[in-house]
Amino acid sequence: MVGRILQFVLYPLVALAIGVFFLGLARKITARIQWRYGPPLVQPVIDMIRFFYQKSVSHGPVFAVGLIMSLAGSIVVVLFLPFGSICPLSGSGGLLVVLYVMLLAPMGIALSGGQGANPNISIGISRKLILALGYEVPFLLVLLTVMTHYNTISIVQVVEAQRDIGWSIASLPLFLSGVSYLLILPAMLGFRPFDVSTAPQEISSGPLVEYGGKYLLMATIEHALLLFIDIALFVNLFLGGAGNPITFFVKMLIVFVLVLFIHAAFPRLRIEQAIRYLWKWPTALALAGLIIVTIGRS
């Protein structure tokens, strides 16, 4: 019981730590790729401390409530994802619940941003939602492929099934889905070339325009957790999860660095280009995977 409670308390903190580490790593590696020295790895932490202590303005209650909802949603999603052997809330609805709880984060940001009443926020949210629609099409297809293939909606069972038959990404029908997931991962994480919704140069970082101080802190934490969630989901579904947290972390790290290379090397796409891309190759791959799985099943 104590262990379970500890899991509940510690697991989100671990996830947050990993997420923040990834944020720092992202800045560092990007800098190295750009032939810069880069900030210290703890720079995001320093930033977050500053945000914590800095004053801020609020545009109304929804401005805060939306962010709280968003962050809470992200933390709850973390609780649903197995992390190695740690999995506090696995038995409560499975992947479908994860899918829906994941909606809380963008919805919260969108609500909060809406209250901000800034033209850049409007544009940013509009782009964010459009982009979300863009990557949700292949993403949902991928998830459905996995769920149909293993005939379960529980992530834990997907992980267990992979323990017997090897990684999903190595098996044929799911290979396509895995590739598709990898292709849309930058979009899900808001990395380049899909960072048009928060483009700083163009729309003053979009939904984040009015955030400062603790608001920005929460948005940063939310982003860190998003990194954790999306990558952990990939690792769980396609890379066989892991028996212990360390292996799991290593797998996540590999995937993240892969995404990071794309992030550092590509310019930003316009929103139509992004959608066009997302609905072309990743969707085609995911669809092919789903068709194969469906045929194989029947």
């Binding site: 800098a31 810069r36 930033d47 401390i49 500053r50 202590y53 800095q54 003053s204 400062g212 101080g213």
Partner: protein
């Protein structure tokens, strides 16, 4: 980081974080902006010091004013400065904001930026080299450490005067005062 640093972190986390996380907002107000890209890109890489450019004053705590300030730009500068959260630092770049520089007799530039918003540091030169920006940043650190980078407090204290100067230069401002002005009295020009 030595032990001293760590002790400082525990003692005054807010001040330390402010120091090492200078998120800068700058306007392309004048020619000085040409020096900023080298500063933030591979050649000089300001990110080493935690200085990164951000897109909005809400996230920033460092305001770089790069070059001369025309009257029209002044309005945007004031607005942006007021929208930054405390603690906030303004650094003027080049000689024009200091005294008008080569535009000293222009009808359309302001001469002393300090009359309109409080400036915490000046970088002289026309143009200053990128290294000068690093010097400014390190100086700013010192000032922050000593509690002397307190332009925002000055602004609050003498807001009435600042506002009056701003209105003298720009005419009536559209937005309401940031701080309560109270009843308007004669005099009280700062510095």
């Amino acid at each position: 980081m030595d032990r001293n640093q760590i002790a400082k972190w525990f003692k005054e986390p807010s001040k330390m974080a402010n120091k090492y996380s200078l998120h800068a907002i700058y306007f392309c107000t004048g020619c000085g902006i040409i020096e900023v890209p080298p500063v933030i890109t591979a050649r000089w890489d300001a990110e080493r010091f935690g200085v990164i450019p951000v897109a909005t004053p809400r996230q920033a705590n460092l305001f770089l004013i790069t070059g001369y300030v025309s009257v029209k730009t002044l309005k945007a500068i004031i607005r942006t400065y007021e929208q930054m959260y405390e603690p906030k630092y303004a650094v003027a770049f080049g000689s024009c904001p200091i005294n008008g520089g080569m535009y000293w007799d222009s009808y359309n530039t302001i001469k002393h930026l300090d009359k309109y918003i409080p400036i915490d540091g000046w970088i002289a030169g026309c143009m200053p080299r990128p290294e000068a920006i690093f010097v400014a940043v390190t100086h700013l650190w010192t000032l922050i450490d000593k509690g002397m980078a307190n332009g925002y407090e000055r602004y609050k204290k003498y807001y009435r005067a600042y506002r009056r100067n701003q209105e003298l230069a720009l005419g009536k401002l559209e937005w309401p005062p940031l701080y309560p002005i109270g009843e308007h009295t004669e005099g009280g020009e700062c510095d």
